[in-house]
């Protein structure tokens, strides 16, 4: 077999490692050498350069550019890289904005593109007037301002925040013809900086009767959730910064609760009050919305965890391939349990699988970018990814998921949340014409 390997790849094989054109992930590590090899092997662009246009200066190379803005925003040519809005006119109901994962790379969601869900508009909070109170089953109730919190020891960590209703369109009994933004856009990942809740609880003291804490926001619904004290003493944080700058208004300015790996709604934004209690409050969102109905008529309560999941962002629904040849399959994997252990990719609808390369660093409860080289032969293909986490949890196939959690009798509107906590494999079907569509496989 060694003779069949391309010598230019230093022994890293361009041979398929799974069906329908998947190539050994280690080929990625060769980078330029692989591409050189690819050209040599005749699968890249032709090296024939006859008839190429001579290069001339473009207009922007012949004049002085624009002035430098105080706060820079993306190029006007990137105007399509925006969130989608469920309620652009701020009608009296909740508002969602979804992250365009199909147009992004890496593992950090830019602050302007971080998903949001707000239940009564985005409050306009004066940070100098904002207060955080910690009370209830504590020894000393205390009040903190943004200024005083800023003097505490801080930590920074990457963490995804995912709505418990993300991916809910996949409860539909047929694949909704929607892109990754519509299906999986209610998750984002950022670096959060703030003060650990346990640090503040050292000052208030904890009454041993405290088993839960209630977190409440300063927004108009006074959004409220109950969280076990276990999480308070583990990795709960009062976040003050998002990707290095103050938290965006829609993400909870000036401070939010961050509960790494737990459903987004529990990460209470505009945080103004924490009350230690001996029982959960059974607030609206825990009693109703985030208690998903099961096929047997019962319902889960206190789901909390965002379980292991992955999806391919490129190629994905709505993007189209520009002809046969070499492509890189790229996607996101994450788990509320911890680190991603491995991601397998299939190009033949799950008949065969190959291990994807994981971009370092692989961080706990944060996005892990996976990549897989793929040579499209121009025929039908079904692309899938499947993730494992360090806790031994594996992302279910759709059939496994539906067997345990059920599916809808008929499709629901794409913006609806017909059920919660969906995490099965996503499949993108590639047609012979290069079109990519959402399929079930």
């Amino acid at each position: 077999m060694a003779n069949s390997r391309d010598r230019n790849t230093g022994g890293r094989s361009l041979e398929p490692v799974a069906g329908n054109g998947l190539i050994d992930r280690r080929a990625l590590l060769g980078r330029g050498m692989v591409l050189a090899g690819a050209v040599g092997a005749g699968i890249g662009p032709s090296s024939a350069a006859a008839g190429a246009e001579p290069l001339a200066d473009d207009p922007w190379s012949l004049e002085i550019g624009e002035p430098t803005p105080l706060y820079q925003v993306p190029s006007k040519f990137e105007a399509k890289v925006v969130r989608t809005l469920s309620n652009p006119n701020n009608e009296p109901r909740n508002s969602h904005s979804r992250t365009p994962h199909h147009l992004l790379e890496g593992t950090t969601t830019p602050n302007g593109l971080h998903f949001t869900i707000n239940h009564g508009g985005v409050p306009n909070i004066d940070p100098d007037q904002h207060r955080l109170v910690i009370h209830g089953l504590v020894k000393r109730p205390l009040e903190f301002t943004l200024e005083t919190l800023s003097r505490y020891p801080m930590i920074s960590r990457m963490a995804f925040v995912e709505c418990g209703g993300n991916s809910a369109p996949m409860f539909s009994p047929e694949p909704m013809q929607e892109n990754v933004q519509a299906i999986h856009g209610l998750i984002s990942c950022a670096e959060w900086t703030g003060v650990k809740l346990s640090t503040l609880l050292e000052e208030t003291g904890i009454d041993p009767k405290a088993k839960w804490f209630i977190a409440e926001g300063a927004d108009s619904p006074h959004l409220s959730r109950s969280v076990p004290m276990k999480k308070a003493l583990d990795d709960a944080m009062i976040a003050l910064y998002q990707n290095g700058e103050r938290i965006m208004p829609g993400n909870g300015y000036p401070m939010r609760l961050l509960l790494p790996g737990y459903e987004g709604n529990m990460n209470v934004k505009f945080l103004r009050r924490i009350k230690l209690v001996d029982q959960p409050a059974m607030s609206f969102y825990e009693a109703r919305t985030y208690s998903p109905i099961l096929p047997n008529g019962k319902a889960y309560r206190f789901y909390f965890l965002q379980e292991v999941k992955s999806f391919i962002t490129s190629p994905s629904h709505g993007l189209s391939l520009k002809g046969p040849g070499l492509y890189e399959i790229s996607g996101i994997a994450y788990s509320g349990t911890g680190r991603i252990e491995k991601v397998m990719v299939s190009a033949d609808g799950g008949q065969s699988w190959a291990q994807a390369a994981l971009q370092e660093p692989v961080l706990s409860k944060a996005f892990t970018r996976f990549r897989m080289p793929w040579r499209w032969n121009g025929g039908p293909a079904t692309l899938q990814s499947r993730a494992w986490d360090e806790g031994g949890n594996v992302q279910p196939t759709r059939a496994e998921f539906v067997a345990a959690r059920g599916e809808l009798a008929k499709p629901a509107p794409v913006l609806a949340f017909p059920n919660q906590h969906y995490n099965s494999i996503t499949s993108w079907g590639v047609g012979s014409n290069g079109e990519v569509k959402h399929v079930y496989a």
Binding site: P141, G297, G391, A412
Partner: protein, 177 residues
């Protein structure tokens, strides 16, 4: 991941905090505040009734308040409008959340009081008096035939209302509580 090592650490941290000793040096910038000063913010109601305020209300007192402040979104008599129905005899069949109602899903009557007081009316949240919240809660529960038409809702009676779906929940990850 919640490892035994981390659990042991959390337990020791908890013990240190319960002991009241600020073992690690913290900045101590928290300003002491007494519960009386927090009272207007302290609107959490627990299922056993902890936190319920003084006051009371009946379905008859709630009906006109509902018509004035709630029906524009939730429809006449709670039958639903641009916002969810609050009164329904619908049974759950299948997994769609759109079927959930107060009667067929909510496990604790205190949840109804808590949510009305903190979040409603949508355009004027936390504007109702405690008596109005009791009256609206009584009206909605009575329209759903979960209490009698003349029952008074107050801090003693509300937590005792038997909600039909109360025992129909499964805790998803008990080890995380």
């Amino acid at each position: 991941m919640f490892t035994p090592k981390r659990a042991a650490f959390a337990a020791s941290l908890l013990l240190a905090m319960i002991a009241g000793a600020s073992s690690a040096e913290t900045p101590n910038f928290g300003k002491p505040i007494d519960e009386a000063a927090i009272a207007n913010w302290d609107i959490s109601i627990l299922p056993d009734g902890t936190g319920l305020p003084k006051g009371s209300g009946t379905p008859a007192q709630g009906a006109p308040i509902y018509a004035e402040k709630c029906s524009a979104c939730h429809g006449d008599n709670g039958k639903g409008g641009i916002a969810n129905a609050l009164v329904s005899d619908r049974k759950i069949d299948g997994i769609s959340a759109s079927q959930k109602s107060i009667k067929n899903f909510i496990g604790d009557a205190t949840t109804v009081f808590d949510f009305i007081r903190r979040a409603m009316p949508f355009q004027a949240p936390h504007s109702l008096t405690d008596d109005e919240v009791y009256a609206l809660t009584a009206y909605i529960l009575a329209e759903n035939r979960l209490i009698g038409g003349n029952d008074v809702m107050d801090a003693q009676t509300l937590p005792k209302v038997k909600m039909p779906n109360r025992d129909n929940f499964i805790i998803r990850f008990p080890d995380r509580i």
